[in-house]
Symmetry: C2
Subunit: 492 residues, 2 copies
């Protein structure tokens, strides 16, 4: 075997073991008996040990050296790009620091959950300080003297920089704040959904929705979980959803969101399975798929027209008179402090707040002790009302407690990309609304699969978006889309 073949064979087994790890994670959230938690954590630790040993195997360095300057094809070059990036990053972090990070973050989530329950930021501050300190050390180890924040960002969005995102987001924020103010102050407001919706029927209809978005049940499955997620690549990409008796939209749009993630994985060229190219290329691009499925397609006037009829068939008359009113109700903007419950319009304001604060935390400009005040001030400025308690403020998200600094901006980047892709898709597929109004998403999702999903990790994140769209990604299409949509619904 050549060095390339040996390297890829090694990588292939590692990817297969990583899939197993993912499947265990899925099992844990959906199937595992509750009494098995402690044994499971030991099983997971053993598997993580195997994965870590494989990822830091010195032979990877030897193979990569042997391949320096080799003339390789496009796919081979892309595979090496991923492998080299991961190996370099892993090699730069001292084993002692990696172990300490694993130890601290395995405990810190519990501390955060307790503090949130007790509405006591101080009980979490010391832990956050420790996690942040270790992440700074890690960033210094991998940054080669460059920006700490950029170094952390690479784990989620390779190629992106904090400065570039900040430029994009600073164009986003004022127009979103302004739009939000207009919407909240509008004289006309859509009626909310009221009533009870049998959960068994929600699950039945949500399977119909998953199929309508092209989810292939022969290569996945749909179960319930407390927090919906998708899991797995290649030919086994599973999704979860949840039900609430009074809020069927939670079930339906969680499903469509996760279908977007899973269809990206399932849509990747089969030839890339169990190689570095066989997975979604970044968190931002992943989120672009879940968001365009959920929002630009799933919450469109055309598609909600079809959904309205489906809900009528499932639940009978549920108090919304027609599909126009239903469209407004689906897209209703409320007052809320929780990111995960936010609507399409306000969601990015939640993210931008976190993005700005976490950059300051990582750089040291913002002390952990000052986080609650900084959060609350910014929240009031952007949302117009005050945070009432820490669990509705800076204790609401798990991310920072487990060291996920640099993760938040990928949510908004995903929305920005979804805005770009939506514009390009609608230009390329002229009568898409006619199909959507009949529950047929195949033209829309087919365009995404053909132009973006199938490439997996072949291109860099920004490049694959630009290539699909035919223009350089920017915040403009998302802003135009949101302003048009909500101006119409709220008769601004």
């Amino acid at each position: 075997m050549t060095a390339y073949q040996e390297l890829l064979a090694h990588q292939r087994e590692t990817e297969a073991l990583a899939q197993i790890s993912g499947r265990l994670g899925w099992d844990q959230e959906t199937m595992m008996p509750r009494g098995a938690a402690s044994q499971r954590s030991e099983e997971m630790a053993a598997l993580e040990g195997v994965l870590h040993a494989r990822r830091t195997d010195v032979r990877i360095g030897d193979w990569l050296s042997a391949l320096e300057g080799a003339e390789l094809g496009k796919v081979e070059t892309a595979n090496l790009r991923h492998i080299r990036r991961d190996f370099t990053r892993t090699s730069k972090v001292p084993a002692k620091l990696a172990a300490e990070l694993a130890r601290v973050t395995s405990l810190s989530q519990g501390v955060w959950a307790e503090a949130r329950k007790a509405e006591d930021f101080d009980a979490f501050a010391g832990t956050l300080e420790k996690v942040l300190g270790l992440k700074r050390e890690e960033a210094d180890a991998i940054s080669d003297g460059g920006s700490r924040y950029d170094a952390l960002l690479q784990d989620y969005e390779p190629g992106a920089t904090g400065a570039e995102l900040a430029a994009m987001f600073s164009a986003l924020r004022p127009r979103l704040v302004a739009l939000r103010e207009c919407v909240i102050g509008a004289s006309h407001h859509p009626v909310p959904l009221i009533g009870e919706f049998e959960e068994r029927l929600q699950m039945k209809l949500t399977r119909v929705l998953a199929r309508a978005f092209g989810y292939d049940f022969s290569r996945g499955r749909l179960d319930k979980a407390v927090h919906p997620f998708s899991s797995g690549s290649g030919s086994d990409a599973r999704i979860t959803t949840r039900t609430s008796l009074t809020d069927p939209f939670n079930c339906f749009y969680s499903t469509i969101h996760e279908v977007g993630h899973a269809c990206y994985e399932l849509g990747i060229d089969d030839a890339y399975a169990l190689t570095p190219l066989g997975q979604g290329v970044s968190m931002g691009v992943h989120e672009s798929q879940s968001r365009i499925y959920e929002n630009q397609i799933g919450r469109s006037r055309a598609f909600t027209g079809w959904l309205f009829e489906q809900m009528r068939q499932s639940f009978g008359d549920f108090g919304i008179p027609d599909s126009d009113a239903f469209y407004s109700t689906v897209n209703r903007v409320g007052q809320g402090s929780i990111r995960t419950e936010a609507d399409e319009l306000q969601y990015n304001l939640h993210v931008l707040l976190r993005f700005d604060l976490e950059q300051s935390l990582v750089s040291g400009d913002l002390a952990v002790a000052d986080l609650p005040d900084a959060w609350n001030q910014r929240f009031k400025a952007d949302f117009g009302f005050a945070v009432d308690k820490p669990s509705n403020g800076c204790l609401q998200d798990v991310h920072w407690s487990v060291g996920l600094f640099g993760y938040f901006p990928t949510y908004t980047l995903g929305n920005v990309y979804a805005g770009c892709l939506n514009k390009a898709m609608r230009d390329a597929v002229p009568n898409v609304d006619t199909a959507l109004s009949q529950g047929d998403t195949s033209a829309a999702t087919g365009w995404l699969q053909e132009n973006l999903q199938r490439h997996g990790g072949l291109y860099e994140p920004k490049d694959v978006i630009e290539q699909a769209c035919g223009f350089a990604p920017s915040e403009a299409p998302l802003l135009d889309y949101l302003e048009n949509k909500f101006s119409e619904i709220y008769r601004l």
Copy 2:
């Protein structure tokens, strides 16, 4: 760390990874989308590779050498016994032979399935010849010049020998054949169960049955599978069952059988979890638990009295007038050629046939080409009627196709052990039937947990049975039990 601690730490991680492998097997039979099969086989191969490397790690040999002659406690000595036995066995088989066995048996099951479907033994003969040849080679490698068959037997029943089993089984066979003849020729026969039994209600009742036998749903779960099985150790032992519209006994007794296996695993002392002692000690002892749960307890007059009432509550009047008639119906003896569908009386005759034939196959006394004739002659002699087609004869079981020579006798050994344990348990727990007639198995299963299950791998298989019973195990209690039970039911 001492050599012992290092060895156990290594072992513990291996056991944790082996649990993961088991969980994936469970997923494959219950949850996995069908399109994921090929990716899954690659995932499993990667994990098997990791497990194989860990089990043949040269450091195990070093640790074992360092511990030669060390003075250790009872638990430590037992752990070393298991580790040494496994390591010695693995080390003796040349890597090339192990790889060839894995390659051939991964394909041979498919050949067998095709041949069975086509009712064509000749299409399977060549493959069986190849598997048998490799298993002979393997046996020669591990037997140290001793018996080939005994060498293979060790994988399933450590410490047992073919000669010892043959002596026990030759005492069993004539009395079973005679009893079978009397029963089939009896003038009185129980009525069969007739009707349809809603499968949803079967699943509901079968969960009640699992709980009645002490199955702990917080450390396991019950799902459907094509072929019922149990899977997992420690604090995650899952079971499966199946339903048939016209045969609820299939569902109920499959469940109780698998509950017996799972309760053995869950009943082992927690301190042994993820060590060599943390699993059932042999296939025979395992089967003793599933069988005593299923038969001596589950098909007893006392317990079926309670089950009759449960079925009446679930299904209304189903044509059996009272609990006496129901007891007879549950224990009805039919004419059949399939081992897995056999009743308590005839089951062991199926096994003894296979045991005798596989010994001859392994020794070379019986040529593969002569297997169908040998099978059919023996079947006629023991069951009184002829095999009509290969799928009802020597092509019915998967075992030999995948190299499981030496496995079959553990089924009957399990029944023999169940007979012994039943005698001892009934002597020790005098009013057990009173509790069973109210669906309370706790005295019976509690005795088993206390006297047998909790020890896991601490003692050798035969020793743990003898210790629990207070007498050396023999076939006599099983024979007495079967003769009494069926003489009464069939009014012989």
